[in-house]
Amino acid sequence: SRRLCILKGIYPHEPKHKKKVNKGSTAPRTFYLLKDIKFLLHEPIVNKFREYKVFVRKLRKAYGKGEWSTVDRLKDNKPSYKLDHIVKERYPTFIDALRDLDDALSMCFLFSTFPRSGKCHVQTIQLCRRLAVEFLNYVIASRSLRKVFLSIKGIYYQAEVLGQPVTWITPYAFAHDHPTDVDYRVMATFTEFYTTLLGFVNFRLYQSLNLLYPPKIDGQADIELKPVEGQEYAMDSESYLEKLSALSASLARAVAPAHEEEAELDEFPVEGETAEQMDAKKKEQEALEKHKKLFEGLRFFLNREVPREPLAFIIRCFGGQVSWDKSLCIGATYDVNDPSITHQIVDRPRVEQQVVGRYYLQPQWVFDSVNAKLCLPVADYFPGVLLPPHLSPFVTEQEGDYIPPEKLKLLAMQRGENPDEESEEEEDEEDDNDKEEEEEEDESEKEEEMKLKKMEEQKTQSNKMLPVKVTAGKLRLEDKQRLEQEQQSEEKRLAIMMMKKREKYLYKKIMFGKKRKVREANKLAAKRKAHDTAVKEEKKKSKKARRA
């Protein structure tokens, strides 16, 4: 059945000879491997499913007859099943499980935001929430977050867990308008498996860091917290998950932490590795260490309009300290008036009563800094300021792709150059500098365009035949290089004519793809240029208006 296929991870296959398998018809049908279905047949969980079905039937009967003692008895003997062996079977090694964690995490995070009524069991939602919070705490403890991205769909996170990139998306914290054309039973079945998987993965991950599982908040932090919440929360166990989900306290370790030992990794020279490679590796390692300690020593305060959980998570992942208003959520460690706060994250147009000695910043600064692997200049992110574009950290531009100018700037900054120091200067000067800058940009863009154009030309040349008419006069004018190039391109054209049909098809397809890429890049560049000129014009106009 469907449920079994989902749990066991059986998927259809595309047959090699579709027509042969489908008895001559080409109508679309799904094909499963016979072996897979046989594999499903001797799965012990099938019996459990049958038992459960029987149980439900009996229960319904008892309810109908009003035999309450039978109902109680049946409920006591409710058959349960476990998916442990399926997890183990599908992921024979831990690394395999980590590789497939993306969907599990996204699903758990989604389910943990569902309301406590209607679409699925409350227990599932609570379990999802618990597992998600545990995973977040692990990421904080191991400092393995690498990239974050604010998209219009939700917030993407990428962590590197034991060398495997794990990406997940969380929705923005709003109530869902539940669509009607979605089969929640399918999603629930997936979640059932994913929670099992995530639980085991969490256990193993906590173990790898010598943390207690289920997680305990570190003793010292607990004591610190207690007097604050003692009055508001009657029961400790109730607030336990909430405290944990506040993400503000470190976790208890089974064994006393030994940071100093870990810090110095022994270097094992690998054979066949050159010194350069070693150096590069070392540098990368250093950069990574630096990235992990990005917010070390900074104290953040989150205003109440800012999404608390993601920001607290990110800041704590990079070593920063974070707090928020006491009435917002438990786990606040310090107050707004704390003088040691260095950054206050604000998302409103202006702030009354600014405290001297701290930066008031918009939340995008945190995200951009994490992606840039350095603390960006704060000037662009003051409250009420028009923010610079937020770029995706997941895009790695290849040769010939379009790179937005902001990214170029960022890359330059990462390399240590500081091209836009001028932009931080006073407003009056800014205009001129801006112009220069823009001109520079324009130039670079032009160069790029020229390059692209050239590429285009070469490609179109290869399609167009050159006219044979070459008079002697023209020949003298043209330099040798050009002639040689022409000759080469003609040779290429002739060689292309001699290609075999299949190869020619492939070649044309590849070339078509390349051309389309260039076209798209050109389009983006042109759009950007048009936009920039429009902005410039507007600036000039407003300036004139101001002068008049």
Binding site: R2, C5, I6, G9, Y11, P12, H13, E14, T30, F31, D84, V87, K88, P92, T93, F94, R99, D103, M107, L110, L150, S151, I152, K153, G154, Y156, T167, P171, Y172, H176, P179, D181, V182, V186, M187, G199, F200, F203, R204, V306, D347, Q362, Q364, L386, P389, H390, S392, V468, K492, R493, L494, M497, M498, M499, E503, L506, Y507, I510, K527, R528
Partner: protein
């Protein structure tokens, strides 16, 4: 009214009622006994089982504590992991760079596209701050679709071709190394007022003859592009062929229903005088033989123009071609019957019809340069007949829809066929009856093909207005396959009436090629 508190928490000394106890409270209940005995029976029969002990294993434990290598089954090796979801690009940002936002018309196009065809499944939007970002309404949908993909999508390992396109281009010898071949246009022969259908060249290479739709035949001097003579023939000239015998100066011309043998009276006076003498030395045989065609001698005014003999056919003639020795020639009549191909002997003024039955519409015919073979190209096949034994020796499959022209290598072992579906087939007669190679160089229909008599060159002229010259080296070693390399694309003819080049012919001694076009010109490339 004061209330009497009957049931207080205080224990009273008197009971509330004074009723004596029931008898049934002293004796054991029968109903209960029955129930108990039922239960006992059920337990005895094994219908009621003791409660299962709760298993107290923790829900989560170290599942991968013992990772034995044996647990990796064959299944896992065959397993195709689901592809991860695509990571978001700049356009998905809540505050993307302005160039990623869609313009109005792009948005409109996006809306009109089918949801499955869209490259982006969302419209990029820009929000000025994080606070303004709303919930994404399709979030649950997307997760659900991902779930569906995971368990319903067929998975398949696809071999991605990761090749450098440059590697696909075959390594061919450089054209410079294969010189000589015609590279530039040297001369243009102007004079015809309509399309020039056919070309012929004298065996010495000094004179060129061309036939056109304007009803004239023109003789040119090759080296100067001067028109030496114009001969009006009163009809569309379909084909011309210069006698390949250097001692005879004679041109066969196909005009409507007749074939004219014309003495151009160019060059050596002795030579063309000898030709005239040869033709006049004909003595009619005693007994009249029945012939498929009528041989007429030219009238005096025609004789003055150069026409010597007129062979009148019953239908329009579309091609004439000479045998290498220069005595026999063949003509092709456009007709469905068995009278499509006729072989004539000029010295004896004698014609014969070699075929009893028609095997399809004959496109062109050709004599083998060395052996007594005769090539007949129908729409799809080329049949090779042995003229001595009078039998079919080979049937070549051209692998194309409609053969337009044919040429034979001077060595006699290789044939090329041009076709109207823009293909050129190279046959190696020793190898197979199928083409050794199909060349698809032209974009439009091929009109004519030609071999050079000495150099390893062949050329094809097409409706796209180009002449492509190829190097076609044939080795004497039978084991080595011919080497075909395109060396030059010659352009120059303007397209008129969707026609480009109509005929190509090589100079007999030089690596030069002539082409005649629909624009009424003849061009020489050297």
């Amino acid at each position: 009214q004061p209330s009497v508190d009957f049931f207080t928490h205080e224990v009273m000394i008197h009971p509330v009622t004074n009723r004596p106890a029931d008898k049934r409270s002293f004796i054991p209940s029968l109903i209960e006994k029955e129930k108990v005995s039922k239960l006992v029976h059920a337990i005895k029969m094994g219908w009621i089982k003791p409660r299962k002990p709760k298993d107290d294993t923790p829900t989560y434990y170290d599942l991968w504590a013992h990772e034995e290598p044996g647990s990796i089954l064959g299944r896992h090796k065959m397993h195709v992991p689901a592809p991860k979801m695509k990571l978001p690009g700049h356009e998905e940002s809540y505050n993307p760079p302005p160039e990623y936002l869609l313009s109005e018309e792009e948005k409109l196009a996006w809306e009109q596209q089918e949801p499955a065809e869209r490259r982006l499944n969302f419209v990029p939007r820009q929000y000025r701050c994080l606070r303004a970002v709303p919930a994404y309404s399709r979030f649950i949908h997307e997760r659900f679709e991902r779930c569906l993909d995971l368990y319903l999508c067929p998975r398949q390992r696809k071999m991605r071709v990761n090749v450098d396109p440059e590697d696909l281009i075959p390594k061919l010898p450089k054209p410079q190394d294969l010189q000589p071949f015609p590279t530039v246009q040297a001369l243009v022969y102007r004079g015809h007022s309509s399309l020039v259908r056919c070309l012929g060249i004298s065996p010495s290479g000094q004179w060129l003859v061309s036939g056109s739709d304007d009803g004239t035949l023109r003789f040119w001097e090759v080296s100067t592009a001067r028109c030496m003579r114009t001969l009006p023939v009163g009809g569309v000239v379909k084909s011309v062929a210069w006698n390949p015998n250097p001692t005879v100066c004679l041109v066969a011309v196909a005009v409507e229903q007749s074939v004219l043998l014309v003495n151009p009276c160019l060059g050596d006076k002795l030579l063309y005088g000898a030709t005239d003498q040869l033709l006049e030395s004909y003595v009619a045989p005693e007994e009249e033989r029945v012939q498929p065609v009528r041989w007429d001698t030219a009238t005096p005014e025609e004789h003055a123009k150069g026409i010597r003999l007129i062979i009148r056919h019953s239908k329009a003639v579309k091609q004439v071609t000479w045998h290498g020795k220069g005595d026999y020639f063949a003509s092709v009549v456009s007709d469905n019957g068995n009278m499509q191909v006729l072989i004539h002997q000029a010295s004896k003024r004698w014609s014969q019809n070699p075929f009893r039955r028609s095997k399809g519409l004959v496109q062109c015919v050709l004599f083998h340069p060395l052996r007594p073979y005769f090539f007949v190209a129908t729409q799809r096949y080329v049949r090779v007949y042995n003229l001595l034994k009078q039998e079919l020796t080979k049937k070549l499959m051209a692998n194309c829809k409609w053969v337009s022209s044919m040429a034979i290598h001077p060595g006699g072992d290789n044939v090329i066929c041009g076709s109207y579906d823009s293909k050129l087939a190279w046959f190696d007669l020793d190898l197979s009856t199928r083409p050794y190679q199909m060349l698809r160089h032209h974009k439009k229909a091929l009109r004519s093909v030609a071999f050079h008599r000495h150099y390893p060159l062949f050329a094809s002229g097409s409706d796209d207005g180009t002449v492509i010259v190829c190097h076609g080296m044939v080795y004497n070693d039978l084991l080595q396959n011919p080497l075909l390399v395109p060396v030059k694309v010659l352009k120059g003819h303007a397209l008129t009436l969707d026609l480009g080049v109509l005929d190509v012919i090589f100079h007999p001694t030089q690596p030069w090629v002539f082409s005649s076009g629909a624009d009424g010109t003849i061009r020489l490339y050297t």
